[in-house]
């Protein structure tokens, strides 16, 4: 239980960062920002499995929805899917390897693509943007930007492992 509370706290902290500071480092004319919450969510999903990943995704997505100007439920939906996908990677034997190596960056990228694809496809429904446009302008840049940021926890984890 203590473990879950710790991760909930981390996710809340990431949500707060996402909604406050991250806006200052947006790039491209479409104001792309890294998704810190998905990094935390993937970490949590790998560690705790599909159910925990889905619930954490739904909860964090819902909070993000409430704090945003878009549809309520949209971020919840995309984050639930991403959390569930991260849960698929849960494997007690390979946990250390997944979380402390650069494979984590690949997992974050995959989950980020799922999250962003669902989110932006729904979000831009009714506009003139094609799926290709959405992929090129929003999904891929956000994924790459997020993947770059996901290197940070890996670096810290490796450092910690070596010092141990």
């Amino acid at each position: 239980m203590k473990d879950y509370l710790k991760y909930a706290g981390i996710l809340l902290g990431l949500i707060l960062l996402q909604k406050t500071v991250i806006g200052f480092i947006d790039i491209t004319e479409f104001q792309i920002t890294p998704d810190l919450v998905i990094i935390g969510l993937v970490y949590f999903g790998i560690k705790k499995g599909k159910i925990s990943g889905s619930i954490a995704g739904f909860a964090s997505g819902l909070i993000l929805d409430i704090f945003s100007f878009s549809f309520i439920g949209l971020m919840a939906l995309s984050k639930t899917a991403a959390g569930f996908a991260a849960g698929f990677l849960h494997d007690d034997q390979k946990l250390e390897r997944y979380l402390n190596s650069y494979i984590f960056v690949i997992f974050v990228s995959v989950c980020s693509v799922i999250n962003n694809f669902i989110y932006y496809t729904f979000y831009f429904q009714g506009t003139n943007l094609t799926v290709f446009d959405i992929l090129l302008r929003y999904v891929l840049p956000t994924t790459v930007y997020t993947a770059i940021f996901s290197i940070i926890p890996v670096i810290f984890a490796r450092k910690r492992r070596f010092t141990r």
Partner: protein, 277 residues
């Protein structure tokens, strides 16, 4: 029943996931709900306050974008300003020419200088008017400031004029105040001078020089320049330096006066000269 429960137990992950997806979809379709809007208003206020607290942090990328956009705007505005300045100057020049055109008694053709040489001993200008505009060889070229030169070659659409800064052009001139005559020409070394003025003649610095009625090439009374230096050249003549009214370096538009020398007068003078010689 047990089997069913066990089967559902195996699928619990998918059932929970599906339930969450369904809840999310329901929420999406409930977006206009008053309660949801109320919660959102509070949340947005909270996040707005927090973001306001962080607003002192400069957004590097945003600053870069803004900087780029401002630079582009600056270039556009500079271009526009340059065009406006050019238009203003052109307007001033054309206004001044229009005034001159209205007050002159001669029929004139307006032309633009499209070529100019100012570094040789025989300097010329090329005009964008020619025979089609009734321009003929020998016609005087002037500006609203004064005499510039005379036409020496004409094609159907272009013409070439000798300017005062040409050693071959000599203009019979007169001191407007004292009516003393002389010949104005360029020395080829940077000075326009009035020659053949006797030592005792009444010419002072600042006197305005105009074309003389003795000239068969130019109508009388066209301003040429003013006296800047008055020295004695030798025992007989004065060394008078003249500053032309026309700025040859900046002049752009000119008038060609439809004035041609009087052939009868020319013929008579020629005959007399032959006889006396």
């Amino acid at each position: 029943m047990k089997i069913l429960l066990s089967y559902l137990g195996n699928l619990k992950e998918y059932i929970i996931f599906s339930s969450l997806v369904v809840i999310s979809l329901i929420l999406i379709f409930q977006n206009d709900n008053v309660q949801i809007r109320f919660v959102r208003v509070i949340a947005v206020n909270v996040i707005g306050t927090i973001q306001n607290g962080f607003s002192f942090i400069p957004n590097i990328f945003e600053l870069q974008r803004e900087n780029k956009s401002l630079r582009e705007t600056n270039i556009d505005l500079s271009k526009e300003l340059s065009i406006l300045k050019e238009s203003k100057l052109e307007n001033l020049r054309l206004n001044s020419m229009l005034e001159f055109k209205q007050r002159t008694n001669y029929r004139i053709v307006t032309g633009k200088i499209i070529g100019k040489t100012l570094i040789q001993t025989r300097n010329n200008i090329t005009l964008n008017i020619g025979e089609r505009d009734s321009v003929k060889i020998g016609m005087p070229v002037i500006t609203d400031k004064g005499l510039l030169g005379k036409i020496v070659a004409v094609s159907s659409n272009y013409s070439i004029a000798q300017i005062l800064l040409n050693k071959d052009l000599k203009v019979t001139a007169k001191d407007q105040r004292s009516r003393v005559d002389g010949i104005i020409s360029w020395d080829g070394q940077g000075k326009v001078r009035m020659k053949n003025v006797s030592k005792s003649a009444d010419v002072k610095i600042g006197d305005v020089l105009i074309t003389s009625e003795y000239s068969n090439n130019f109508p009388a009374g066209i301003p040429i320049g003013y006296v800047t230096t008055d020295n004695t050249l030798d025992n007989l003549f004065k060394n008078i330096e003249v500053e032309c009214f026309v700025n040859f370096e900046t002049v752009e538009e000119v008038f060609v006066l439809k004035f041609l020398s009087d052939d009868e007068r020319k013929e008579l003078e020629k005959k007399y000269n032959e006889k006396t010689n």
